[in-house]
Assembly symmetry: C2
Homo-oligomer: 144 residues x 2
């Protein structure tokens, strides 16, 4: 297709022509997370108001415990794990959805047996995530 | 979660608390399509700039051949089928992505064996789809 429409073929949790990236710059607050940006951020895709990414967390890995103003729309594709939403923890498995509302402290954690893979769609224009330590989360709870 | 964050559990291509809707008002230009709006259009979700829907096309069914200015970001979850993008037809299967650029005439068609199910994310604010007949598509091709 000359106007930018396309099919991006899937195989083994990689997508044709899509780069496998680090989740973010290395840091102590996450473990074993990769990111592939599937749609919305490529050449000629400026008309798309949102970006569709696929994250994969290795067994026993986890994403940063963080919060931000932009929401997340998540659909689990692979594996089993848990999501922390504020002070609650939920089990998740394939095709469960997770809506992370603005300002909710959240983290995705893979189980021990297999990677946890999920689509995560966000606004193209969005604020930077703010890491939250478990100690801070406890203090915020105590002061509220 | 009191602030709107939530996990929406999946079972058998339905999601807990999510209504199964008709694709659109009945018409002759599609067959056997249902729609479930998963995230972005619920109470308290006004901050989300996009809406995540799941469409399912029954075996041998098809969506409307149509075009519009807003783009589609599609991830196939279930079954095998074909997508028409302009004058090209592509086979699709689970976890293939389809980016439908603004203005591209498109249609999703399920194979004979099983339903074709896919996530389709769109801008919350978007234009109405315009149906295109196969005859019109041919005329447009001939005149270009």
């Amino acid at each position: 297709m000359s106007n930018g429409s396309k099919v991006i073929k899937f195989a083994c949790y990689r997508w044709q022509g899509i780069r496998l990236n680090e989740y973010k710059n290395p840091g102590p607050d996450f473990r074993g997370v990769t990111r592939q940006t599937l749609m919305g951020d490529g050449a000629g895709e400026d008309d798309v108001a949102f970006v569709t990414r696929y994250f994969e967390v290795e067994p026993d890995g986890y994403s940063t415990l963080e919060q931000h103003r932009h929401p997340h729309s998540v659909v689990v594709l692979r594996g089993r794990g848990q999501v922390i939403l504020g002070y609650d923890t939920y089990d998740v498995e394939p095709f469960d959805c997770v809506y992370v509302a603005p300002g909710t402290v959240h983290q995705f954690r893979a189980g021990a047996a297999e990677p946890l893979g999920f689509l995560c769609t966000v606004d193209r224009e969005r604020d930077r995530p703010e890491p939250v330590t478990r100690r801070e989360r406890g203090r915020r709870k105590g002061s509220s």
